[in-house]
């Protein structure tokens, strides 16, 4: 019962937050992107360097808001006047606000880049098996439509994805797979999410565990010893059983 209440509370809170974000972004409605591409490059200390590339299909007069999980350090912008790219707060939530002039919009490419400390909890005691939780979430609160959405989570050098526990949107039918794939990029593993379309208010989320790719050698030694012991002490397996008395069933 309490679990059900908790789930309902979370759902209501989530819906309220989404409405708030949508409300904040209302002036930007009607803007369309042909491409939204986000690359999150994670470091072993838990920080991340994030680069977002937007390709505009139809612009609008109102500024675009990109939600952030925390206030970043310096913001670097390409393809846009630096004064038109800034960090603002709506309530306690930080956003990147971009003024995309409508007359120059079609086909225009804009990129922003920033660093975020503590993107995931890299320090302290890890969870079981050395796993650490990593979450990614993007809610489209600005654009009427994003034709092609992609996001890449590039893990620190030597780290691996352990397991994916949740992916939004879930595959609609049995037999379909979540549009998430792990590939190697420049020696690092990167989890890439690709969606053909993301409408206003739609969300992409990924929950997974990551950890160092090094495995403990103890298991290797233990199993090697076990195999050797078997070969040494269980040679009687090779006997045909004629010498031994026949086994009796109880």
């Amino acid at each position: 019962m309490s679990a059900g209440k908790g789930t309902m509370m979370r759902a209501l809170t989530g819906a309220a937050a989404l409405l708030l974000l949508l409300g904040a972004a209302m002036p930007a409605r009607g803007q369309e992107l042909s491409r939204y591409e986000e690359t999150v490059t994670l470091e072993a200390d838990g920080s991340a360097r994030v680069r977002v590339v937007l390709q505009v299909r139809r612009g609008g007069a109102a500024p675009v808001l990109l939600p952030l999980r925390a206030a970043p350090g310096a913001l670097r912008a390409e393809g846009i006047d630096p004064a038109s790219a800034r960090i603002v707060h709506r309530g306690s939530r930080p956003f990147i606000e971009l003024d995309l002039a409508p007359e120059s919009s079609p086909g225009r490419t804009v990129a922003v880049e920033y660093s975020l400390p503590g993107y995931f909890k890299a320090g302290g005691r890890p969870g079981p098996f050395g796993n650490r939780k990593l979450d990614y979430r993007f809610a489209n609160v600005s654009f009427a439509a994003v034709d092609r959405f992609s996001a890449a989570l590039v893990l620190p050098d030597g780290w691996v994805f352990n397991a994916v526990s949740r992916f939004v949107p879930e595959p609609e039918k049995e037999g379909m797979v979540a549009p998430f794939a792990i590939a190697r990029a420049g020696g690092r593993l990167a989890g890439r999410i690709e969606l053909s379309r993301l409408g206003l208010g739609e969300e992409v989320a990924l929950s997974c565990t990551v950890r160092s790719g090094r495995r403990s050698p103890w298991l290797l030694f233990a199993l090697a010893v076990l195999a050797a012991a078997w070969l040494l002490f269980y040679r009687d397996v090779l006997q045909d059983g004629r010498r031994a008395p026949p086994a009796k069933l109880p």
Binding site: V160, A163, K173, G175, R184, L226, A227, W230, V237, L249
Partner: protein, 519 residues
């Protein structure tokens, strides 16, 4: 001829007479059969354990390939170890399953909650309930009566006897869509017939091995003759229809694949006792002194059908009726009674005081088999859940370099072979279909071939789960009798699977083309 008579007499005497031979209480399934291994099997036992460990270490410690998660890699390593151990049997199969379940949790392949939850799956319940039902056939001697009738009619030669069982399985396939109930229904008959031919769990001969393996083939492969032969067939068709928009009707499936199935099974029936597991002359006839006449006398001695036998037949009949009429349940009851609930209803009546037939202690339930199944399912589900199975299949197709310009028949053979042999690494048909079918549809669409030309023949391989005891429920059930070894199963399964690929390819070039399925 003299040798043959001598052999029969010896077997009958060694078995302690006909009554002893037919007393199935002496060959309880709950007891793990102790089979005497031959020299090759002993070497496999000895080397299998370190080999399994070596394979595990190789997969577990290799650099993580792109596309695979670390938990997927752990599951692959654990499953590979279990597969080697199930085949080589350095430790009993149920113990390998338990080790696999522990290994999955300890290597972070799958969490404990899911691993332990497998024992509550409906497939395990179905097995338990089906064995309860099977026990009433044994306890009331109804199985013995039916088997004696069968053998008196067809049992003059091993060949006819094997064929009679295949005909029986063919008749049951379109009626009962679940393979496990079909296996359990025929199991007691097979045990009695095998015993009459001198094959018991502690003294197996060629006839017993052939009988159980041919029925294993029959239960599984005959299912693929009918679209409703298994749930996995229906899932395959719904995937084809939803992913490609093509429609397939019941008769399309049956007209195309039933001839393929019949030809394959006839070939397997002919080749099995002659090539795969050769029957010795003394194994070709019942090993009862006095032959069929003795069996006739035995049947007469059993007298009229007893009240308990009638009760057993009624309970079994009720369950079979519910299995057969599942498509009408909604109209009759307003809900569908699935095979597990039907079997459970039968088991409840079986145990009811005064009304029922047996008490709990008389039910012959092989729990080691349930643990074996649970481990196999846990491994298979973990492969699916971690994405390791899909990663392996994707990589297989990528490495085969199938691309634009590749000849249709090359692609056809690759698709059929990949779908056919993939069953060796899966413990669930449904899972295999869900993973394979979208890939086959995608291959057809990318290369510009008609989707049905590749997807439908690929779907025809769904029920060919015949190479290892872990591949399907009937295999596990038949394996529990100890009448054949894993190696026997591999030999039969691999040869018949390969035969299936050849026949499906020939059918693709001729029969399927005539029907308009292939170009």
């Amino acid at each position: 001829m003299a040798d043959m008579t001598q052999g029969r007499d010896a077997a009958a005497t060694a078995g302690g007479g006909l009554d002893d031979l037919l007393d199935l209480d002496k060959h309880k399934l709950a007891q793990v059969p102790e089979r005497k291994a031959n020299a090759a099997e002993r070497w496999m036992k000895y080397l299998g354990l370190p080999l399994g460990i070596a394979v595990f270490l190789l997969v577990f410690y290799m650099p993580l390939p792109a596309g695979l998660t670390a938990s997927g890699q752990a599951v692959l390593a654990c499953f590979a170890l279990a597969l080697v151990w199930w085949v080589c049997e350095p430790v009993p199969t149920y113990l390998t399953s338990l080790i696999l379940m522990i290994a999955l949790v300890f290597t972070d392949g799958w969490d404990q909650e899911h691993v332990l939850g497998v024992l509550g799956f409906d497939v395990i319940w179905l097995n338990v309930m089906a064995f309860v039902l099977s026990s009433i056939l044994v306890k009331t001697a109804l199985a013995k009566r039916l088997a004696l009738n069968l053998i008196i009619r067809f049992g003059h030669s091993a060949s006819k006897m094997l064929l009679a069982f295949l005909v029986l399985q063919l008749c049951l396939a379109p009626l009962i869509p679940a393979t496990a109930p079909r296996a359990v229904m025929t199991l007691p008959l097979m045990m009695v017939v095998a015993a009459i031919y001198g094959s018991t769990s502690d003294k197996v001969n060629g006839f017993g091995r052939n009988l159980f393996l041919q029925n294993l083939l029959g239960v599984n492969i005959f299912s693929s003759g009918f679209m409703t032969g298994s749930t996995a067939n229906l899932i395959a068709i719904s995937l084809i229809m939803s992913l490609s928009g093509e429609k397939v009707f019941y008769t399309d499936w049956m007209f195309a694949n039933l001839p393929v199935v019949l030809v394959t099974m006839l070939l397997a029936w002919f080749l099995g006792p002659r090539l795969l597991i050769r029957l010795k002359p003394e194994e070709r006839r019942p090993v009862i002194a006095g032959g069929i006449e003795t069996l006739k006398r035995q049947l007469e001695r059993m007298g009229k059908v007893s009240f308990n036998e009638k009760k057993a037949a009624a309970i079994f009949g009720l369950v079979i009726f519910l299995w057969v009429t599942d498509r009408f349940h909604m109209a009759w009851f307003g809900f569908e009674i699935n095979p597990v609930m039907a079997a459970m209803a039968g088991a409840v009546i079986t145990f009811l005081p005064k009304v029922g037939i047996i008490k709990w202690n008389e039910a012959d339930i092989p729990w080691h088999l349930m643990l074996f199944s649970a481990g196999a399912y846990a491994g298979g589900l973990a492969l699916d859940n971690s994405g390791a199975a899909r990663w392996a299949i994707d990589n297989l197709f990528r490495h085969l370099h199938v691309g634009p310009g590749t000849n249709f028949w090359v692609v056809y053979v690759i698709v059929i072979a990949a779908n056919m042999y993939a069953h060796i690494f899966f413990t669930s048909k449904t899972m295999r279909v869900i993973i394979m079918m979208p890939i086959v549809v995608a291959v057809a669409q990318q290369l510009g071939f008609p989707v049905l030309a590749l997807a439908l023949p690929a779907a025809f391989t769904t029920d060919w789960v015949i190479t290892l005891p872990i591949n399907a429920k009937p295999n596990v059930i038949f394996f529990s009798t100890g009448q054949f070894s894993v190696l026997d199963n591999i030999k039969y399964g691999f040869v018949v699977s390969t035969l299936g690929i050849i026949i499906l390819t020939l059918a693709g070039m001729t029969w399927f083309r005539f029907l308009g399925i292939t170009p």
